[in-house]
Symmetry: C2
Subunit: 337 residues, 2 copies
């Protein structure tokens, strides 16, 4: 099956590049709301499921035991830009568990945010694991390990208690089997399990509504959604899509980017969960698709609509600020007029 | 027509992302050697034709009039990383024409090379137009304008004598009409004209062999090819694909990346020109395809083959250096076993 073209990049009067992909929108009972393309092909959700991976930390009571703030809970769900606030919060989370950056196993990279990257270089500094865009998630894993009385060492490995409980949680929420044969190693070294888009969408419908979540899952999901809605900067950073969209819509849309063109979202008022994948892994297309789905499904004020349209169809400008083209989702994303 | 999948990105045992595209290989008589996908769809060649755009500078004798070095001629064909050697050479070219960075109309951006970017920030500096990856091409345009006795001001505009002669040259070499209706504005503000891949491939077959080039075109093309082969660092930069491939193969392969997944090449010993486009604009896929075509067509020693295979099928490692997957061209690129 050839997935359809869902985003076009224009230059002058022509289409310069094309992105294909697939989309699944599912409600909290598992009913299909929208299905585009081959949604049976398994995808690695990568960082798009960080909020689900943070559920055990909150549901277990360990987040409260260590007095984690809303900013820190939001950071546990983040692919952050490595700005000073992100770095400080990751350090603070570790300190609350009696640990420091030395126990992080995510690896080191320069800040993902360009300004933060150059500011760190200008200060004569060099990056630590705290600057890794996943450091908040990893600090959460360390808190989880310590709070359960386990040695955090090796917490990225599939058979460590942390990854076992995280995998069990992903299986419970999405209803999909997470098997070793269909797994890969993520950029930050934890396992990532390939599942089908409708399973991810179903998981985010449940995460967004609490419907069907076992145990204290409903309260934990609400706590995480609220923390992110209050601190959308912590989940991404300056100028980033997730931050801008959630600054605009608050708790009405929980959205989270993953690597290689994956995006997941919850629209709690509709009970919808969304999962999408751009075939080629491109982030500009994934963002335009997600913004297009917000326009399609969520009732918006005129101001909100204008702001989301600017995210769905951004104008492309060159180094002199001259308009050269546009990113635009195709009619399959926009739906019937 | 759905272009075929030409590059796969793997993670674990699965394919995580897929890139579709089209390829044209043509000889200097215009005969088709290889055609994959929809090669009738027009593409913007962007920076992939910089060497052709540099032809008037050399063929007119103006490069010699100003005493441009081989390094500077290579830089005129470059999408460089903004490293100190690139910045210095661009400034030197302008000085030879009695000009300075103030007359560059390409716009300003931070160096494309990560290390150069951070080194500039660490020094407390900020970028000028000389750091723009196109500054060498633009310095060449300024030299061309001045050498012809024209005011360089406005040299990026389609009706300036510089862009008129550049467009005429592109039409002559490729044999394709370059029309305003099928044009766009490039990242550096000059016009870019959408043409079909076989026209680009034909142009690079002629550029690589000199066959059929009018006037002093044959000598100019040879001079440019030699300059780039001697100084492959100047045409890209540290760690870049074009630099590495041409350091390895010298004059046997002239390759040049363009934005949005376009690549052009000449294999002079075979008389072949190559043009390819990744549908989605992705550079990792374009590089893997070009390396795959080198493996397919050029006779290579064992050492050369191993080095090009590493470019065609790079191993993907995460922030901890763990192997997580691979980029690999599909059988359509590799051809029959």
């Amino acid at each position: 099956m050839n997935n359809p073209i869902l985003v076009e990049i224009t230059r002058g009067n022509l289409v310069e590049s094309r992105h294909r992909g697939s989309v699944s929108v599912v409600d909290a009972e598992g009913a299909t709301v929208l299905s585009i393309g081959d949604v049976e092909r398994r995808v690695f959700p990568r960082s798009a499921v960080k909020a689900l991976q943070a559920m055990p930390l909150v549901e277990s009571g360990i987040a409260d035991k260590y007095g984690l703030t809303d900013e820190e809970i939001a950071l546990a769900c983040a692919s952050h830009s490595g700005e000073p606030e992100h770095v400080a919060a990751a350090g603070s989370m570790l300190a609350k568990a009696g640990q420091d950056a030395g126990c992080l196993e995510c690896g080191v990279h320069w800040p993902m945010g360009e300004a933060a990257n150059r500011a760190l270089a200008a200060s004569g500094g060099s990056p630590s694991a705290l600057h890794n865009n996943c450091s908040g998630k990893h600090a959460g894993f360390v808190c989880l390990a310590c709070g359960q009385g386990n040695d955090p060492k090796g917490y990225v490995l599939a058979d460590h208690p942390v990854q076992r409980i995280v995998r069990d949680t992903l299986e419970e929420i999405t209803g999909a089997c997470h098997t070793h044969e269909k797994s890969g190693i993520d950029g930050c070294s934890i396992p990532t399990y390939a599942v089908k888009l409708p399973s991810l969408a179903f998981g985010f419908a449940r995460f967004g509504t609490g419907i069907g979540l076992p145990g204290d899952g409903r309260a934990a999901a609400a706590r995480i959604r609220k923390a992110v809605a209050r601190h959308p900067f912590m989940v991404a950073g300056t100028g980033r899509f997730d931050t801008k969209l959630m600054e605009l819509l608050g708790e009405r849309a929980f959205v989270k980017v993953g690597a290689e063109g994956v995006y997941c979202a919850s629209f709690p008022e509709l009970g919808y969960g969304i999962a999408l994948k751009v075939d080629d892994g491109n982030a500009r297309a994934a963002e335009a698709m997600m913004a297009g789905l917000v326009l399609r499904f969520l009732p918006l004020s005129d101001n909100e609509r204008a702001a989301v349209e600017a995210l769905a169809q951004p104008v492309l400008r060159n180094w002199n600020g001259i308009e050269v083209g546009q990113i635009r989702p195709t009619a399959e994303i926009a739906g019937a007029a």
